[in-house]
Symmetry: D2
Subunit: 416 residues, 4 copies
Amino acid sequence: MVIEEVHVKDRYTHVRARTEQICSPLTPEDHVVQPIVDVSPPKWHLGHTTWFFETFILQPHCKGYTLFDENYGFLFNSYYETVGARVIRTNRGNMTRPTVPEILAYRTYVDDKMEELLEGDLEDSILQLVELGLQHEQQHQELLFYDIKYILGNNPLFPSYSSASAPSSQKTGAPAYLTLEEGVHTIGYQGNGFHFDNELGVHNVFIHQCALQDRLVTNAEYLEFIDDGGYQDFRFWLSEAWEWVKTHQVKAPYHWHWVEGTWSYYSLSGGLQKIDPAAPVTHVSFFEADAYAKWRGLRLPTEFEWEVACNQYGLISEDSNFMDSDHYSPTPKIDGNNQLYGDVWEWTASAYRPYPFYQAPEGAVGEYNGKFMVNQMVLKGGSCATPSDHIRSTYRNFFHPHLRWMFSGIRLAKNL
Amino acid sequence: MVIEEVHVKDRYTHVRARTEQICSPLTPEDHVVQPIVDVSPPKWHLGHTTWFFETFILQPHCKGYTLFDENYGFLFNSYYETVGARVIRTNRGNMTRPTVPEILAYRTYVDDKMEELLEGDLEDSILQLVELGLQHEQQHQELLFYDIKYILGNNPLFPSYSSASAPSSQKTGAPAYLTLEEGVHTIGYQGNGFHFDNELGVHNVFIHQCALQDRLVTNAEYLEFIDDGGYQDFRFWLSEAWEWVKTHQVKAPYHWHWVEGTWSYYSLSGGLQKIDPAAPVTHVSFFEADAYAKWRGLRLPTEFEWEVACNQYGLISEDSNFMDSDHYSPTPKIDGNNQLYGDVWEWTASAYRPYPFYQAPEGAVGEYNGKFMVNQMVLKGGSCATPSDHIRSTYRNFFHPHLRWMFSGIRLAKNL
Amino acid sequence: MVIEEVHVKDRYTHVRARTEQICSPLTPEDHVVQPIVDVSPPKWHLGHTTWFFETFILQPHCKGYTLFDENYGFLFNSYYETVGARVIRTNRGNMTRPTVPEILAYRTYVDDKMEELLEGDLEDSILQLVELGLQHEQQHQELLFYDIKYILGNNPLFPSYSSASAPSSQKTGAPAYLTLEEGVHTIGYQGNGFHFDNELGVHNVFIHQCALQDRLVTNAEYLEFIDDGGYQDFRFWLSEAWEWVKTHQVKAPYHWHWVEGTWSYYSLSGGLQKIDPAAPVTHVSFFEADAYAKWRGLRLPTEFEWEVACNQYGLISEDSNFMDSDHYSPTPKIDGNNQLYGDVWEWTASAYRPYPFYQAPEGAVGEYNGKFMVNQMVLKGGSCATPSDHIRSTYRNFFHPHLRWMFSGIRLAKNL
Amino acid sequence: MVIEEVHVKDRYTHVRARTEQICSPLTPEDHVVQPIVDVSPPKWHLGHTTWFFETFILQPHCKGYTLFDENYGFLFNSYYETVGARVIRTNRGNMTRPTVPEILAYRTYVDDKMEELLEGDLEDSILQLVELGLQHEQQHQELLFYDIKYILGNNPLFPSYSSASAPSSQKTGAPAYLTLEEGVHTIGYQGNGFHFDNELGVHNVFIHQCALQDRLVTNAEYLEFIDDGGYQDFRFWLSEAWEWVKTHQVKAPYHWHWVEGTWSYYSLSGGLQKIDPAAPVTHVSFFEADAYAKWRGLRLPTEFEWEVACNQYGLISEDSNFMDSDHYSPTPKIDGNNQLYGDVWEWTASAYRPYPFYQAPEGAVGEYNGKFMVNQMVLKGGSCATPSDHIRSTYRNFFHPHLRWMFSGIRLAKNL
């Protein structure tokens, strides 16, 4: 693995600072709660990402390192069975201590030691672990945006996170199609940069002739589905999806609110507001994405089709809407950008399963991806909450099909 | 009703300040969470008690009063169906906004208006509502102690609330008995001070000859029950109690922890510490109180026996351990004080049902007590978290029989 | 205790045969299921009542007795912790074996041995146990009617249990009042016949002047409550009752069905049919009884008031509607019969708690009543499913306040 | 589609009779219950399969047909939203009526009409529906075995279904490997016989070089996993699988019982008995199959690898253990038979998702397969409860990954 050209210490400092910056508009109160099991308290993210460096790097590789607090291991482990007991997930939101200032002190303490360590000559294996820790922190940066949006968006006061509003609305034209060539294609990560274990197991996949739309499904398009009674017609829904719709009385994407006779949504930029018809629809579950596609008479692309399309048509540019854009909301298509990267994670038709040659690494790091490979679906492409240097065409994100508190969206495909 | 001799405005100021003082050792983070449905976030208590004055006094009786924030009614109503929609109870702990400073500003705003109002000549009916609001706030002061103890006592760091420790331990002698005379006794509130609706309906009750112990059951005595296998022997337990013991694997009072081969408990004064054998046992459910009494071959007193005993033997003195003592823990018996008042609420054998002539008042105030009169048990006497001017022999507190996050304890009785 | 004048063996034979007669209209399929936790499969009742005689009489007191089947103890124990492991209650309805014929063979086997035993000279203590077993079986006869009604009444085909219809409807006059004398009254069983432990502890109770209606509340009267929006107005409901109404969307008594624009109910006699306006309302919970009383501006009697009224005004006559009448439904008041006995169990205002001198017996028999003395309400008077020789004014029945699959009803009272 | 050579009327009569024969060893009581949501009462299967012919064939295509009972549509619909309201699944086990004789009369009634119809000249589309109904009935024959085994195997008396025991045990040799050629293979049904919609969408799949074992994993092999602590070591388990193991305290395959120091299992043939070490392990979930494979350092085959292997190596012969063998248990490998067909359904590594060109048919029949294509895994090959004329290499069975009341088992694979 070739480590990024930026010096690792600078990268470390930059990534770590960004996390604190994400939390800076929050009050201490906002840092504490866990309204649903999928959301973690922001202060837990601050602590957990720090615990990762303390546990996997400082403790084993920094001589004479003294733990900041012995109890923190117990408090900030997430799901690594290898590393011992942990606060059960549903209990995270009741932990008022350590406080935000105490956790920030923990971060400073660990950062000082890490930066000291990173000034020295380090074995490649340690540098790889540092990079894993930073990628891990970037994933939590993205989760922070989901969780903050959930916490503030469920408050009856609908407080804004950022006062800046996302780029203004404009009409979006009809979608065109990106066609794929029929035949055997190679799938999986083949470079020498950072990647996760689940991208390995490079292998061949046969893809039949098909085409993907050149942009994401918009709010205006999705509204047609709502207005056509899509949520009331079982024929478009998988059986479990239909149970989910009925049980939770789902009527629209998450964060949408029916206010005075029209649909509004809560946005991190600007709070409660009218829907932008040209912006990509987001906060939809796989269940909704699949139902929408059926209603249109089309389908979702497989993860393989998506990856091949992205290798051919994908582009990371100034127009890409990543976390770095500071919009925190998907934005309308700009000519020449097919939105394969950024804006919203795109649900694929593929269940999250191991690649043919997949091998989980040994030890705690091996728990990172492999053990989640059942009952989840693959999403591709990153979102407006993804750091721009954290995404690849081979990146495999995954969520349960009913979840939608994240920036998830839809791209349609069809056979040719 | 004769209003207290203290001028009502001074009393208002004093009570309101006391609530804020109770919260002053807390961090902002401590104010937010709701770890179980029975616990409310401290900042909710701060807001809700203020909402009471705003809704029931300022809004209807203060000309030109402008609401501090229109949304607060929705946020801070507790269970008054009469007054409109409310945040469902289990959701209280997810409301990070308004923040603590915002709620304190709300308090100041309402207090200013209230104090202005209280300087004028007020109708008796309004003065009575003010007094009800203050008594209501005192009840929430007591709940604040329970809830704070729950929040801090369930944190793996066991943070202290107060560094002062409760009066030092000393051996307690064997209990003596307070005997009651057989015959018809009158029950219920007959004075002209403040009282709740559920104390009215003065009526006669026939009491057979019996006697109550002259002190509370101690930790040392309760430990004998534990050590004798009391929690493992179904014969002492009501059927629902036994299910509760097995489901929750109950082995000791709440806030007790088995640490390094001995029982410790979490206390607001001093955090995690060795049990004081002479102090009254607390944080026991009715289920436990009843099982303990059966194991001893004795029984709990009825609420009527307790009230008659209290009228004859009860004493509020300097030795009484109320909130005003600032111990926040029950303390060992002092000679001459039979602990009928203060220390812990005493579970009685009586189900919480209306007195024969009970009438719920009209309107929202009528929801205060009457609608809870099923599936709960009566407790008497106040606790170390009760303001000393908030208790009477006729005061009827009530909790579900499985609850024990409050300062509840045991006094034994027997037939003669 | 004086044993009944009827020879015990004849009584044994009679009671046991009656149980089988109750099940005789059922198909084998009807005997198996347990649609809710409160209902037991009819074949379980057949086995359990037999197990009682085998376990408590034949096994300890009949030399050389061989168990019919070793597994039956495990299958047919109900809740006697003293006697060992048992099939958990929710699992009863999945036990297809033993079959009905096998259980009837079990009954025959035990009956033969019991009748042999009863021909000999028996100690009084054994005779008392036999009588307890028969009273126990009579209680299960009553439960059989509840459970059969639940099983058949929840079947979309609404099969009839009995083709005979209950006495024809007629208008019922306005209720008159039975007045009680103010003063000290004695409560509890003082005779020398059979009684349960919970009727003992004879003691004095002071009763204020009051009066009870001279008949049960009718369907027509209860319909006024429904039509007046009683189920939609929280003011009449206890807090837990209101939750129950909303959660279960309760709109009428159990077994009532809104069919083609009018209320019908399912009856054991004749299946689904129009409501008889003059018949007593039944299948109401305590929550509904209490709400109805509040809506009328009246109240429920306490169990003590009821017992005193019954001693003065109660009458078991040919007009009483017990199981022996074979109506299996409450019937309209007949002049001169105030319905204190039979028709429906009457909810009282009293929580089910021990009498002052109550002592639970030693051993398994001690689990019969005492351990249920929390969170339940007392009902008095027996029902149309109660054997006429199984009821007394001192009899204390008890159910949780939300239950209503049994024949429960309402009598109103007022202060004077 | 070419209809089977056997005349359809004979085939109809044969299949319908077989269903009743499966139920013939049951008592009426055995037909009623639904111990878990996945199990349906046997009498429900008898009714539902009949309802299928009545609803989809007789009602639309048989002039003047009179419904046997109007309520049966409501009672016996399973999950066809298109066809109207249905008894919710968890309630099936409370329906004691119609009785078994009534349902058998329903079968006779429908069979008479069907046989009359089948004697005439029928359009191909109707014949196809008849064949679908028969295939549907064969699926329920298989489910009947699962459900009967669950009902009897959970009865403390462990009654036998059949007294004949499965072929006697013998040692099984080490597995050999069936190798697959690397390259593009065609997947999906290409014949002109009966098939389900989910087998269509013939398409190409690239398969890398790999090999499948030539027999199923045996009980002896699986015991090594148990004895090695496999159920206690999280490293082998998917995250949701580990939760499942802990929540349900899973320690062995379903129907296994630890009796007097050794493992026994319940079998339809012979009841509770010692495990046959050479027989294939069955009643394992996907979670267990996957964990076992990881523990062995191998993996499960994908559904595509399995289909290609089956096309090359699979054989339906006299040695195949299907329902027709009347063993009702998987049996040890016989030389020359690699067990790809029969014995147990084999968990594959593939999530159940639509093939690239999959199209759900219009109408109720379209609900047969497509709407279940999420959160389930594909199983292949049929089992000892599958009719031998009901299976193909392209047949895609599917179950949720935690289920194991069916005859499910394991075949291992490896990369080459």
